[in-house]
Amino acid sequence: MVDFCPDDTPELQAWRREVRGFLDENWPRGKVFDYDYDEDESRWAEATEFWRKVGQKGWVALTWSKDYYGLGRPPIEKWILQEEFCFHGAPCYPVIGLAVANAILRLGTPEQRLKHLKGIAEATTWWGEGYTEPGAGSDLASLTTRAHRDGDHWVINGQKTLGTAAHHCKWMVVLARTDPQSVKHNGISMFMVPLDTPGIQMLPLHNMADGQQNQTFFENVRVPADCLLGDEGQAWNQVWFGLGGEKLDSALPTPDLHEWRVIRMLNEVIRYCRETRRGGAPIADDPIVRHKLGELVVGVEALKLMSYEAYAVAAKGAGGRGAARTYLHQGYYKELWPHLAQTYMEIVGPLAQIQGGRWARLQGEAERYFRASFGNHAGGTSQLKRMVLATRGLGLPR
């Protein structure tokens, strides 16, 4: 039965109030922290403190099994929590620990779960991403980082790049080819690598939105055998696809804080247009601005509903068609985001380029958002998502 209301019981409504109360106490409403576009130490420290408090409540691991640091709560509570986090403007959980946890919960041995999930649940251990290579971006399966077995260890050699905030991380999940004869998607394995292992060198890459990504070099990096996650050579199907093909975290998809930043940003734009006068009238009275804002509202509302649908589809345990829908959703988001950023700059006008000080509009927020929107390729470009939608979803030839 069609229904868009997640909290249909007094218990769930009370849960929403509890989450809201926690947020009001622990994070100033609307305070912005984007881990992927921020290198300010004090802001990182604030966000880290916030997530540790979330972790102490057990809410990072809300839906995980009680056997592994979780609270064993139903997925709908996670949905409600995420919704509240989004509309409050709470920061995203830094980097990809939640995705790693999802993979470990699905594929890890009991020992691996006990070893790694605590640090993620308590937000004491940040995890970085070691997928992309200089020669393997959208075509990730062409990666050349290798790992070979040597007694009780794996030895990793190769180079990863564009690792968002990896220098803040203690651990990294690394995709490496373990079968030297293999090509493409076969023969790739996933390793959980402590970043203080000898042979790892990290060099900074600064992105145009004030964030740091990193190049990570692996030279004869020896990690114990239990660093392999899932089956040898099966990472593409078991892990990577699990990360890319589903929304993060365990159980069911929820609002993605990263993606739903477009809602927060659009609300900022609307408020700015209502409160700011130009040429003697509020900007919001300009018919062209109204048209553009209306278009953005339609787009953002539809994007929001795609998340509701993702949850509903997953709740029904639907498979094949759902996957195509996921690519449509991701591709659409990746195009809407920069469109919103461009429109924001257009609306704010020439003063939008001033980055700070008394003459800046919105303390330079529009231009920061504009710069960040060129990071929309993370996790695969919109072109890639459309190609997969066309071939896998619409059945067009590859």
């Binding site: 039965m1 069609v2 229904d3 868009f4 209301c5 997640p6 909290d7 249909d8 769930l12 709908i76 949905w79 919704e83 509309f87 809602i263 659009l266 609300n267 609307i270 408020r271 209502r274 919001a284 018919p287 109204r290 048209h291 804002l293 209306g294 278009e295 509202v297 339609v298 787009g299 953002v300 509302e301 539809a302 929001k304 509903l305 795609m306 509701y308 649908e309 949850y311 509903a312 589809v313 709740a315 029904k316 829908r325 449509l328 591709g331 659409y332 072109q383 459309r386 190609m387 939608l389 066309a390 071939t391 979803g393 619409l394 059945g395 067009l396 030839p397 590859r398």
Partner: protein
């Protein structure tokens, strides 16, 4: 189950039945046959739809209706859109009938609703005037008190199915000059004194008329001067169903386009292998999906008894955009063959233009969205 975008079993059964019914009884050839037809629409098909109970589904049970919800009928509109079924369900039931059901006296309802539900009478809305506006400011045609009743004079455009209609619901002005106050609705006999109709040839070959009222007698439907709120609600609700039709048509346009892209070989390979062509196909899929989600949300809001006006405008703004964008992309995929009148795509393109305008185009609804949006909030809020 709290977040759910699936129809319930009954609604799914209705949609499945409708899909089979229209595929079999009203393939696009039928729409082609009824382009510019004197007969206006296929009576036998309409009768079959009446027998299935589809014409009175949203009417109250006491007037031979079925007390159904918008989500119950949503699937029928999707499927009508898929095959372009040339029947006046939107015009005569979702608009004309719904206005009688919402505003009529018991006598008016008793006189019209059971006969609409049985397929014996049509009531259609005469709204549009020469300015081409869908807001209250578009209603200027004056209705003057005359004895016990009212007398209407002026011209209405794009009035559907006038020749078949037993009554027109005419939006007229009894007070004010352009605001919401002063708008009234009247039942007018299109074959009665003071009414003349001229069919206006149009892109989709629809039975649309310019109707001239010259002192035509009108019977008040609903409150004098204060009909705007109800009229606007019903038009917005119908706009959601028009959006559902765009969803169905879009799915068919996508099927036609991907089917062609897989088969058509140029440069030694199917054109669907070219990413430029794949992009066009994904444009259709994306626009359709946006429309489906927004229309579904609006229907849910209507049925839940929540304010739905903003959500209806979100849906129709998107549906209007999609109707144009999806057919445009499909023509880009097809090139020459899509331009040919014997090929079905043009049927969707030309009717799509009517649907894009009908009950408010993108510009109209984006303005309504802008007016009603202070901030974006969760779907349930």
């Amino acid at each position: 189950m709290a977040i759910d975008l699936n129809f319930n079993d009954e609604q799914q059964l209705i949609e499945n039945t409708a899909r089979e019914f229209f595929a079999k009884r009203s393939p696009p050839e039928l729409a082609r046959k009824y382009e510019n037809s004197e007969e206006e629409f296929p009576r036998d098909l309409w009768r079959e739809m009446a027998d299935l109970g589809w014409l009175g589904m949203n009417f109250p049970a006491e007037y031979d209706g079925l007390d159904c919800t918008f989500l119950d009928v949503f699937g029928i509109y999707v499927e009508m859109g898929r095959t372009l079924a040339p029947v006046p369900l939107l015009d005569a039931v979702a608009l004309g009938g719904a206005l009688v059901a919402r505003l009529g006296t018991d006598a008016q309802k008793r006189a019209l609703l059971p006969r609409i539900a049985a397929g014996d009478a049509l009531v259609t809305l005469a709204f549009m005037e020469a300015d081409g506006l869908y807001g209250a400011e578009g209603v200027t045609l004056p209705a003057k008190k005359a004895g016990d009743g009212y007398s209407l004079s002026g011209v209405k455009l794009l009035v559907p199915y006038v020749k078949s209609a037993e009554r027109l619901v005419v939006a007229a002005r009894t007070g004010g000059t352009s605001g919401e106050a002063g708008v009234s609705l009247f039942l007018v006999d299109p074959n009665g004194a003071g009414v003349s109709a001229e069919r206006t040839k149009n892109m989709g070959g629809y039975p649309l008329y310019a109707v001239t009222f010259d002192g035509a007698p009108g019977e008040l439907l609903g409150p004098a001067d204060e009909a705007w709120e109800a009229l606007n609600d019903v038009m917005l609700q119908a706009a959601v169903l028009q959006s559902a039709m765009v969803v169905g048509a879009g799915e068919r346009v996508l099927d036609i386009s991907t089917g062609y892209a897989k088969e058509r070989v140029q440069f030694g390979q199917p054109i669907g292998k070219h990413q430029a062509v794949q992009y066009l196909c994904t444009d259709i899929a994306i626009e359709g999906q946006l429309t489906r989600l927004l229309a579904l949300q609006a229907a849910w809001k209507i049925d839940a008894g929540r304010p739905f006006q903003r959500e209806a405008s979100l849906a129709k703004a998107q549906a209007s955009k999609a109707a144009a964008a999806m057919t445009f992309a499909a023509h880009e995929v097809h090139a020459g063959i899509g331009f040919m009148i014997d090929y079905d795509l043009q049927l969707y393109t030309l009717r799509g233009k009517h649907w894009e305008y009908n009950l408010g185009d993108q510009r109209h609804h984006l303005e309504l969205v802008a007016r009603q949006t202070e901030e974006v909030v969760p779907a349930w809020a």
